[in-house]
């Protein structure tokens, strides 16, 4: 007689404590005694922080009205933001002329969107237009003085508009310069190499503030007495020089990652140095460093806020100005929350976009 099971026993369901909500809770929140402790403490802290915040920001808050008299209770006063909204976006750009800024941004958005289509005809030319022709057209559109457009000096540009202009123009100027510097640093020519190294190390070694100070205090001294350099242009020069050094290091990383065989293959085909760089090496190097360039761009976007210190009214500068308005004193938290949210949306969006690009250009170079 043998007690042998002839057919398979059906699989038993997992214990009830391991599946469903209970199982999830046990695995993720209460797996050990100290995890349970962490969970309880965290929950308590969240309970102390989140409901009061929602109460302040939404439930007790005031949304409609035109003056601070509308803000009576203890909640947030979003009326202040609403009242100041045009300034947050356009700075002191005259209200009657703000359509020009709107047109400028209405043009750039579809252009950028077109560039992100995976396959589109004439992408190269659209790209060249966006990077090199559009900024010039936009400058004349915004500043006017031509074709019957009212002249708006750059001192009146401000708010988010100025932040975006600084960031976009900064990257457009810094990218080609950075690529050249990276090539210079990797060059076999000793003088070219040392000039690039000194340039890169000097700009990377000092804080952006001192570069901005230099551009605002020293640039007028460096120029012949009759040359007047616009304040915005000075800031742009500082940002572009500073950022190109960072871009150069990012691109150098990409160049170093290209296998030697690629350079040799280009030489074997008899390509000249510019051609082998432009057709073989750079496309691969730039593809590898896309995440790095995006990170640099995010840093640039955040760093544009430093122009406040030399007196330009970008988004943060306008926020500071709004908070010092005697009519609206005491709403610092609302102001900073709003400005911070705008910066956050742009930076977070960019970082997600960087991830997306990384996946799209992923052609098996990562192992």
């Amino acid at each position: 007689m043998a007690y042998v099971l002839k057919d398979n026993h059906p699989d038993l369901p997992p214990p009830r404590s391991e599946v469903g909500v209970v199982g999830w809770l046990r695995r993720n929140l209460f797996s050990t005694w100290y995890n349970s402790l962490f969970t309880l403490v965290t929950l308590y802290l969240l309970y102390r922080a989140i409901p009061p915040f929602i109460d302040w920001a939404l439930i007790q808050a005031h949304f409609s009205g035109t003056s601070r008299a509308s803000c009576t209770g203890g909640g947030a006063c979003w009326v202040f933001i609403g009242d100041r909204l045009p300034q947050f976006f356009y700075g002191f750009y005259p209200a009657a002329e703000q359509w020009r800024v709107n047109i400028g941004f209405a043009v750039i958005v579809p252009l950028l969107a077109y560039l992100h289509l995976p396959r589109a005809p004439g992408k190269l030319w659209v790209g060249v237009f966006t990077l090199f022709v559009y900024p010039i057209l936009a400058f004349f559109l915004f500043s006017g003085g031509l074709f019957g457009l009212t002249y708006v000096p750059t001192t009146q540009w401000g708010g988010l508009m100025l932040t975006l202009i600084l960031a976009f123009a900064g990257i457009v100027a810094a990218l080609p310069l950075g690529v050249l510097l990276a090539l210079g640093r990797r060059s076999k020519l000793p003088i070219l190499r040392s000039v690039s190294v000194v340039f890169i190390e000097v700009w990377r070694g000092v804080p952006l503030i001192t570069v901005l100070f230099m551009s605002s205090v020293l640039l007028p001294l460096f120029m012949p007495a009759h040359v007047e350099v616009d304040k915005l242009l000075r800031a742009l020069i500082a940002i572009a020089l500073f950022q190109s050094a960072y871009i150069a290091e990012v691109v150098r990383g990409g160049l170093q990652a290209i296998p030697k065989g690629q350079f040799e293959a280009a030489d074997a085909l008899g390509l000249s140095y510019p051609k082998s760089m432009a057709l073989i090496v750079m496309p691969q190097a730039l593809k590898i460093v896309i995440p790095g360039i995006i990170v640099t761009f995010i840093e640039l976007f955040k760093d544009t806020s430093l122009v406040v210190i030399i007196g330009l009214m970008d988004l943060l500068g306008i926020t500071q100005a709004a908070l010092n308005d005697p009519k609206w004193l005491g709403f610092a938290i609302e102001g900073y929350l709003f400005a911070g949210l705008i910066y956050w949306i742009f930076c977070f969006g960019l970082s997600r976009y960087g991830l997306f690009l990384e996946n799209r250009f992923h052609t098996g170079h990562r192992r």
Partner: protein
């Protein structure tokens, strides 16, 4: 390419000659640029009556500074102003680096925690503070937090020892008595003892195979020895606790609002970046390494100490160092809220008073450049030592 062919190519296609032409052009451009700038600067400075000398360093500055680590009064010289600013920059940077490392380490580990809530919270912290400009955070802590704290009379009170009000943060200050030097000596002796213990433990392990718990031994020595001496010497340490006298606090240690706001913002902003670096460093050590170490029979602590940490640190330390460097450079944002750092008092107030733009900006940039280059130099040495040696 043979010699025959090389001579057949026209000279303007010769690589070497092209290289030299390119380099000569670069030299000409750089030299021309600097001549242009130097000439203009000289003309402009003469026109504005600015002399280009360092003599202003000996002149009386005539303004006061709200925080200085060395004696300073408004009759001190500009040279003294420079030193005060430099020390303040280094002070806030060093404290910021310590706090940011600790906070970053905790948050980086929390993000890897198996506790879902904790990991999510750490992720939210990182994404929030990394994506908002540092200057905005400094302004927030200064104008929206420090300045809305209550007045000195109604300050937040933490156990009667710590006080928070709109004039700053007040903490108890240790006051060493004369006999305290004995404790300091004991501490120095303990450090020497730990170094000796390490050597001895290593030698013993090499000879007999017996490991010695160096960490706990050293820990006990460094904490224990000074503590024993401290009690033997009759506890020669008093505390100066801040006390409200009239309208303000007396005694204790005070962190002025400018310092507190700057330190908070620098710490939080940098900690968010360090947390990500720590996380990627820990993740970079492949699980196979841990398994291999376990299968050799190493206990958990030794796995961490001998296998995981050395490999993770190789990934973590270079980017963390550049974060330290960034923090030091970012401390220059102090000028926006008036904390008297180098940029604020020297490249700000001193420059406005003397008009010596070229010299002052040059010196300021030189100081930061020196700090940066020395740190990169140290980092390169470190990298050479720990990098993977392949074929």
């Amino acid at each position: 390419m043979s010699n025959h062919q090389a001579s057949a190519t026209p000279w303007w296609l010769n690589q070497r000659i092209r290289g030299w032409i390119a380099q000569l052009l670069v030299i000409a451009f750089v030299a021309g640029f600097f001549t242009f700038v130097a000439y203009n600067t000289q003309v402009n400075m003469q026109a504005r009556g600015i002399s280009n000398s360092l003599s202003f360093f000996g002149q009386e500055a005539g303004f006061s500074v709200i925080q200085s680590l060395i004696p300073y009064s408004s009759s001190s010289t500009y040279g003294r102003v420079f030193l005060v600013g430099l020390l303040n920059t280094l002070f806030v940077s060093v404290i910021g680096i310590i706090f940011a490392s600790l906070l970053g380490l905790v948050i980086g580990i929390a993000r890897l925690s198996s506790n879902w809530l904790l990991a999510r919270l750490a992720g939210a912290f990182i994404e929030t503070f990394r994506n908002i400009p540092l200057l905005l955070q400094i302004f927030f802590f200064y104008f929206a937090v420090m300045q809305v704290l209550p007045t000195a009379r109604q300050s937040f009170d933490l156990g009667g020892l710590f006080f928070f009000n709109n004039r700053g943060v007040y903490l108890p200050r240790p006051v060493p008595e004369p006999a305290f030097w004995a404790v300091v000596i004991a501490f120095v002796v303990a450090i020497g003892g730990v170094i000796w213990l390490r050597r001895w433990a290593r030698r013993r392990q090499e000879e007999t195979g017996q490991p010695f718990p160096v960490f706990w031994g050293g820990f006990g020595l460094i904490i224990g020895l000074p503590l024993i001496v401290f009690f033997l010497a009759g506890m020669p340490l008093g505390w100066s606790v801040p006390q409200l006298r009239g309208f303000n606090f007396q005694g204790g240690l005070v962190a002025i609002p400018e310092f507190t706001a700057l330190l908070l913002a620098l710490t939080i902003y940098t900690a968010a970046s360090i947390a990500e670096i720590v996380r990627s460093g820990i993740l970079s050590v492949s699980h196979g390494q841990t398994e291999a170490a376990r299968s050799l029979g190493l206990p958990n602590q030794r796995v961490l100490q001998l296998v995981v940490l050395p490999q993770a640190l190789r990934v973590i330390i270079p980017p963390v160092t550049s974060q330290y460097l960034n923090l030091t450079k970012n401390s220059s944002l102090a000028t926006a809220i008036g904390y008297p750092d180098l940029v604020s008092v020297f490249a700000g107030t001193a420059l406005n008073q003397t008009g010596q733009a070229v010299v002052i900006i040059g010196i300021t940039m030189g100081v930061y450049l020196t700090i940066s280059l020395s740190i990169s130099l140290l980092m390169n040495v470190y990298n050479q030592r720990v990098r993977l040696v392949e074929r």
